[in-house]
């Protein structure tokens, strides 16, 4: 399968290329803008001093306690120097000079951060990387696929059979020529970065800038590809205000300059396995700010920003075990990331080998592009209301007919945008057999042991974890009927393989869910009934269908009836 041609024949005009060519100037601009914003928060020298001191303190802890392979060698030296610069005798200091001095210190910190964050897109390496990923996938597919399948069908499997693209990708492409596109995917696995990067390329979009956790750079292979495919670095260990402002400014400027961007709005991988329902407002707010700049600043390009929610659907998640353990142990989302648990190359290889070998599928579901206010957009990029009238986006930012900046209003717009995206995740989610079976099986167990809390459930003895096949199939049919109804209303998408007869569907779901894990979330025992060897994993995969109001369908009375009479 050949790669699609780029829509933009003159690749040298891509904003991401231009930004990388002028990286130095771009970094300078980030620094200037970030410093300006930070100083606007700290009018007094003492406040600024406190902020820099607290940053220094946090960074010292990070360097000593949370060191990663990817960290530069001169960290100690740099922060030691900052410390020296902060040693000013309060008796001798002159207020104006002191502030000026602090501003210089601030600038050197921001510069270091900006240098780290900004990516380095390379056209040559990009071309190489896209081919390498493509060929790697194809190689694994043809080599790993079960020989008996090949012999039976006599056909060579292709990537198209396994990786499905859903959604109006043609429209997204058209809009990327008119305005700036922001793709906002769900986040389940560290593989998402590569997969989404590759898929954007695959559907013929120009490269996107995307934020990748700096921990991923600990893995040389991932790091290599990500850098070349347009990634910039995000370090979640750094939570100080100065870093966060620099990161936000970087993203906002890159959007303002027309760079298409991709970020995972949930911030980190979903610990619980559910579709994210709490999004990070910081990065999301850069889209509103950038749109405002584009429309009203004299240097703004007037370009419109389009958002596309995207759902990545796998039958199984490589890191499911660690993620759900983390969720259950209440370790907290942030702490988990601080440990360097990046994927080893052999793990990725093993995963992909299993994925391609066992006929597993991935659905990449792109939502309908909308403007930042949830309005539909036509092919020309116009925002359209329900009656088909064109909406002037400027009016969202005007008061009594004139433009007015209002931070509180913009943060409310960001919240509304987040709600819109979460809705999109549910709407464009593709239900797979494994999700359906995991959800139903776990709900049956929950119903049977209503008195137990979640943690007691997880320690259920082995012989209590058996579900009769009749019961499971009966319940799966009920849940599927409701999902079918929802799908006709456009509230969710069903994978075509859900059309199988119930027994085959249950078998398919169990087989796909078990592809990779050493202890299985579900398996079929010698009596033909269904057993869970790993309830945590079952719970994790079950959570994928949370939030659709499906729980009420499975009640004990109905289950007993199906088990005995159905």
């Amino acid at each position: 399968m050949a790669l699609l041609p780029f829509i933009d024949s003159s690749a040298s005009d891509w904003p991401i290329v231009k930004l990388s060519e002028n990286r130095e100037a771009f970094v300078k601009e980030i620094v200037q803008e970030s410093v300006r914003k930070i100083l606007s928060h700290y009018a007094k020298a003492d406040d600024l001093y406190d902020e820099i001191s607290s940053t220094l303190f946090q960074e010292k802890i990070r360097i000593t306690e949370k060191k990663w392979k990817v960290d530069p060698a001169d960290e100690q030296e740099f922060w030691g120097d900052i410390r020296k610069q902060l040693l000013v005798n309060p008796v001798e200091r002159n207020e104006t000079e002191f502030k000026k001095h602090l501003e210089q210190v601030l600038e050197s910190i921001v510069t270091r951060y900006a240098e780290e964050i900004a990516g380095q897109f390379e056209m040559g390496a990009f071309k190489f990387a896209r081919n390498a990923v493509e060929q790697g996938f194809s190689y694994m597919l043809t080599t790993a696929t079960d020989r008996s399948i090949k012999r039976l069908t006599g056909e060579k499997p292709t990537l198209n059979d396994r990786i499905h693209f859903l959604g109006n990708t043609e429209k997204i492409k058209r809009l990327s020529e008119i305005g700036t596109v922001i793709i906002l995917p769900t986040h389940f696995s560290n593989l998402d970065s590569i997969l989404v990067g590759w898929s954007i390329d695959k559907i013929g979009l120009p490269p996107f800038a995307y934020g990748a956790g700096i921990n991923l750079y600990n893995n040389a292979i991932l790091g290599y590809f990500m850098n070349r495919l347009g990634a910039y670095k995000v370090d979640r260990r750094k939570k100080n205000a100065i870093y966060l402002e620099t990161l936000k400014t970087h993203t906002q400027l890159s959007i303002q300059k027309g760079c298409h961007n991709l970020f995972f709005p949930g911030g980190t991988r979903s610990r619980k396995g559910n579709l994210e329902d709490h999004l990070k407002m910081g990065l999301l707010s850069t889209t509103i700010e950038a749109q405002e700049y584009n429309l009203f600043n004299s240097n703004g390009n007037g370009k419109k920003i389009f958002v596309v929610p995207m759902v990545i659907n796998y039958h199984l998640v490589l890191e499911a075990n660690g993620l759900i353990n983390d969720y259950l142990s209440h370790a907290g989302q942030e702490k988990y990331l601080e440990k360097d648990k990046s994927l080893k190359p052999w793990q990725i290889f093993k995963f992909l080998w299993k994925f391609f070998g066992l006929g597993s599928e991935i659905y990449l579901s792109y939502g309908d592009p909308k403007d930042l206010f949830g309005n539909a957009v036509d092919d020309k990029g116009n925002s359209i209301d329900k009656a088909g009238r064109v909406i002037d986006l400027k009016q969202y930012f005007t008061l009594n007919g004139a433009y007015k900046y209002d931070h509180q209003r913009d943060s409310e717009y960001t919240k509304q945008l987040a709600i819109q995206i979460v809705k999109g995740f549910h709407k464009y989610n593709v239900v797979l057999s494994s999700h359906l079976v995991a959800f139903t099986a776990f709900e049956i167990l929950l119903n049977q042991y209503k008195k137990l809390d979640l943690y007691e459930m997880m320690r259920l003895p082995a012989d209590y974890r058996i579900i009769s096949r009749n019961m499971l199939e009966g319940a799966v049919e009920k849940v599927l009927a409701k999902l079918n109804l929802m799908a006709t209303k456009g509230e969710v998408i069903l994978a075509p393989h859900l059309g199988k007869d119930t027994s085959a569907l249950v078998n398919h779901g169990i087989r796909q869910m078990g592809v990779y894990h050493t202890t299985l979330p579900l398996r079929i025992n010698k009596d033909g009934n269904i057993v869970s060897d790993n309830l945590k994993l079952l719970y994790y995969y079950h959570n994928r269908l949370e939030g659709y109001g499906l729980r009420s369908i499975i009640n004990k009375k109905a289950l007993v009836e199906t088990a005995f009479f159905g």
Partner: protein
């Protein structure tokens, strides 16, 4: 001078128009040409004189094009249709602050209301939600408080809350309507403030009944406090914070409405207790008492969320099941609930 729009020429709409007219030009919308001509001829409506700064119009287009800030104040039953006539002319630059204390109901499966109707949050909309649903306007607010129209018109002191998620909306509202005898507070909990105003009408009907039967101030004190708890408890399930019920738009509005014969909902309860039938009362009133419908809606909501609502249920039986007021009171006094404050 800014031109501000008001939609609706009921007693509260007219009062708001007059308040706004103290510092602004006001464009007051009324639906029909006949009504417009009548009001224009007398410059007076239901005993209220119109301020000279008020100009009348029956053109939604004119109102929307001339005013960025608009106060829609029409009964909840006709609110959605009213917004629909304005929709073609409204854009995201408009700010709408409504003053309607009622709910819009989307019946499940288009069924008729009956004793067994159960409603969930998905089936009801506050008026600010109707505006968001039907138009491009995003900056929506609500104003509510102890605002009996007649007292405001007599120049007596009063206060209101303007609630909106957007500070911009609150500020614009305050700037336009605040005066020496009309104090204005702000809140970001728009749903809470709306629900406090809507559900207090239930308690107002009960207060009317208590007053008609001369049951005394102790009984009223009991009703107001237990009533506040009841509506706050129910509203929690609908997305409101209990704080809203303690402020100007909660307790403030409740006390005013539950003591005033100028309140429509109070009057309904009063006349019921005096032996009149609901149909007769509704037929003889020239404006809608929103509380009657609110009782029915709250009754259906309480079933869904399993909230103990003895006052609402009693009123439901009196209004729609022909139970006598005395019987209702006996039931309430026999009802055993031990906990005092359980809604905060």
């Amino acid at each position: 001078m800014q031109t501000i729009g008001v939609i609706g020429t009921g007693s509260f709409g007219t009062a708001v128009a007059n308040l706004l007219a103290e510092h602004n030009r006001v464009l007051l919308y009324t639906r029909t040409k006949e009504k417009l001509d009548t009001i224009n001829a007398s410059r007076e409506f239901r005993g209220q004189k119109l301020h000279p700064n008020i100009i009348l119009t029956n053109s939604p287009e004119e109102l929307a094009s001339k005013c960025h800030l608009i106060f829609p104040i029409v009964p909840s039953a006709s609110f959605r249709n009213m917004i629909k006539t304005f929709t073609p002319f409204l854009n995201p630059g408009h700010i709408l602050i409504h003053g309607t204390k009622g709910l819009d109901v989307i019946m499940p499966n288009d069924a008729e209301f009956s004793d067994t109707t159960i409603l969930s949050r998905e089936n009801i909309r506050t008026m600010s939600e109707v505006i968001l649903e039907e138009s491009l306007v995003v900056r929506v607010g609500y104003m509510g408080g102890p605002n009996i129209a007649k007292e405001i018109m007599d120049g007596k002191p009063a206060a209101t809350v303007i609630a909106s998620k957007y500070n911009e909306v609150v500020n614009e509202g305050v700037k336009s309507i605040r005066s020496s005898h009309f104090q204005v507070y702000g809140s970001n909990d728009i749903v809470g403030i709306e629900l406090a105003g809507i559900f207090k009408n239930i308690i107002a009907i009960a207060a009317g009944a208590i007053s008609a039967n001369n049951l005394g101030e102790n009984a009223k004190g009991m009703l107001l406090s237990r009533g506040t708890g009841e509506i706050a408890r129910l509203s929690k399930y609908l997305g409101a914070s209990p704080q809203a019920f303690l402020g100007v738009a909660g307790i403030g509005d409740l006390v005013a409405t539950c003591s005033s014969k100028d309140s429509r909902n109070f009057t309904v309860g009063y006349r019921l207790a005096k032996g009149e039938k609901l149909k007769e009362i509704i037929a003889s009133m020239n404006e809608v008492a929103e509380g009657i419908y609110t009782v029915r809606i709250a009754h259906a909501l309480a079933k869904k969320y399993d909230v103990v609502c003895p006052i609402t249920n009693t009123l439901y039986n009196i209004l729609f099941k022909d139970q006598s007021v005395e019987e209702g009171l006996r039931y309430l006094m026999a009802f055993r609930l031990f906990k005092d404050v359980d809604f905060i």
